[in-house]
């Protein structure tokens, strides 16, 4: 087999050196009952060419050549070629977690740059080296707030990504961490601050909000911070659309920012792998989950980086660790780092402006359901959601996300997203189809 470098001659030599004549003897100490007495019921190995063909065949079973108006946490942004060029280098791709600093300065330096860029983007003091994704960063942020405040309850906005909230509930259930939701304003789509105020109590450790929220709206972070801080809770701000940070005010009032970087050159890939982040204020460093890279010097006095503050982590503190996370998303975080470097200060702004322009062009033709200011996605009331999307599919367009599964009260609405990749002609078709569908008599089968 091509991944196994030894010849049979070498195997025999090595077996001989071990005092063994047959490979089976290497396993003789396993109890008979524990051993598999037959070959695995899996087909024999195939060639590289056949592997390519297998995945091409599967890809052909997926949708091909559709224009896509889905966002909802996963965004269709261009991936600069430099990203794959860099992450394809064996030195990044095939290296381990950088515990041996002397021969891992490449990875350590890029993580230090990553941490810095995340701080610059979010207005926080420190950021970790990545979490699995945005959805798991949310419960980690909640648990962090519980440790930092000594309180136990969590209030989460209904306008936070619904699947993120589901993940939060899974984690919270067994921790004695009650989670309660508060609503959004049906007119503006922004936080229902009165509902938040009503549900706040002195036992609340964290208030979790998202901006832009699940409906694409730049939400009221400052007001949420005032309410949370007024009762001694921390404010956790979530983001799923990182490109928005190129133009939107950073959530500087947050105590913890938990976000998803998929927008930064990470292909949608049917849901992962992506990269999450946790960023926070300096005073909460020791409550943070995940790896951190710090700056130091080597014994010759040269600047050098190393993993640091590791006593928070599971391999040292075991059951008292801040999290059980070990493997993170280093290579994906590197993709984001390259993306941020390529676009840089001007480019990220310009990219955000293009997203804003595209989404507002589309929104100008169909009436957004909510009046709050939106970035690159928005909700539209369309009536028969499935009918609309079926019509669009016939035109090689994947329409917006039907919201009924997550918000029964919005079962007549879709969440539409437009990015710099969205073409004007496709937006015209979508707008046209929506407007026609709005008058039932005009809908033809």
């Amino acid at each position: 087999m091509r991944y196994l470098p030894k010849s049979d001659f070498e195997r025999r030599e090595m077996l001989g050196a071990c005092g063994v004549s047959q490979p089976e003897e290497l396993f003789a100490h396993l109890p008979e009952a524990a051993r598999l007495g037959r070959p695995l019921n899996l087909a024999p190995g195939i060639s590289e060419y056949e592997i390519v063909q297998y995945f091409r065949d599967r890809a052909a079973e997926n949708g091909n050549g559709f224009a896509c108006f889905l966002g909802a946490g996963v965004y269709n942004h261009y991936r600069p070629v430099l990203v794959d060029t860099v992450v394809s280098r064996g030195e990044f791709l095939t290296s381990y977690t950088p515990y041996q600093a002397e021969i891992a300065q490449g990875t350590l330096t890029t993580i230090f740059e990553f941490q810095t860029m995340i701080c610059q983007l979010t207005g926080m003091d420190v950021a970790n080296a990545s979490m699995y994704d945005g959805s798991t960063a949310v419960p980690e942020a909640a648990m962090m707030a519980v440790r930092a405040t000594g309180k136990g309850r969590v209030l989460v906005a209904r306008s936070v990504h619904p699947e993120y909230r589901e993940v939060l509930l899974t984690y919270a259930k067994n921790q004695g961490m009650p989670v309660e939701e508060f609503g959004y304003d049906p007119e503006t789509g922004t936080l229902d601050l009165e509902d938040l105020e009503r549900k706040m109590d002195d036992f609340t450790a964290a208030v979790i909000v998202q901006t832009p929220n699940f409906f694409g709206i730049a939400d009221q972070v400052k007001e949420a911070a005032r309410i949370a801080h007024g009762r001694g809770a921390l404010l956790v701000v979530v983001f799923t659309e990182a490109v928005s940070l190129g133009i939107l005010e950073p959530p500087a009032e947050a105590d913890i920012v938990a976000g998803e970087l998929q927008s930064f050159a990470i292909s949608p890939s049917y849901g992962g792998p992506y990269a999450g982040i946790i960023a926070t204020r300096e005073k909460y460093i020791r409550q943070m989950p995940g790896r951190l890279v710090g700056q130091s010097v080597d014994s010759r006095g040269n600047r050098a980086f190393c993993l640091t503050l590791a006593t928070r982590e599971q391999h040292i503190r075991r059951e008292k660790a801040t999290s059980n996370i070990c493997t993170n998303q280093a290579l994906i975080a590197l993709m984001a780092t390259v993306f941020m470097t390529v676009y840089g200060k001007q480019g990220l702004r310009e990219l955000a402006e293009q997203n804003l322009a595209k989404a507002h062009y589309l929104a100008g033709k169909v009436k957004p359901r909510f009046s709050g200011p939106f970035f690159n996605e928005f909700v539209v009331k369309v009536g028969a959601v499935e009918d609309l999307n079926k019509q669009l599919l016939k035109k090689k367009i994947i329409g917006g996300l039907p919201l009924g599964r997550f918000y029964p009260e919005l079962a007549d609405s879709v969440l539409l997203c437009a990015t710099e990749m969205t073409r004007r002609a496709d937006m015209d078709v979508v707008a046209d189809t929506i407007l026609r569908a709005a008058t039932p008599t005009e809908v033809t089968a």
Partner: protein, 127 residues
């Protein structure tokens, strides 16, 4: 090496008490075992702690060690210097690097702790 007026625990803490006013620290032996200390976690003043229960922890780069209180009582003061300069725990564990001051609630507990000579014999045997 080990001050005569201190009392010692098997977990390598010391307490120096005058009446019900006590000072708590970790021993020279403890700091040697830990190596370079990088962080000290201490309770807030006013916290009530019980003998044998954790009152905080000290950290080296790759280890965390709980500090168990040698006596019961209320924390009256914590050593603020340690936040900025944890390294003094390596250089002066029996002096400048005390951890907390405490108002003893059961001074009789002192009698159950080791004297300097007993402690030295104990760590000698542990080796």
């Amino acid at each position: 090496m080990y001050p005569e007026n201190f009392r010692y625990t098997k977990e390598h803490e010391w307490v120096a008490a005058v009446g019900d006013a006590g000072t708590i620290g970790i021993t020279d032996h403890a700091q040697q075992e830990l190596g370079d200390i990088v962080y000290v976690d201490l309770p807030k003043a006013g916290t009530h702690i019980e003998q044998g229960k954790s009152l905080g922890s000290v950290e080296s780069v790759k280890a965390v060690s709980d500090v168990y209180s040698p006596v019961s009582g209320e924390v009256t003061e914590i050593n603020q210097t340690l936040a900025e300069k944890p390294e003094i725990l390596n250089s002066d564990p029996h002096g400048a690097a005390w951890l907390v001051k405490i108002k003893l609630s059961a001074p009789a507990e002192l009698a159950g702790l080791m004297s300097a000579a007993e402690y030295e014999a104990y760590i000698g045997a542990e080796k």
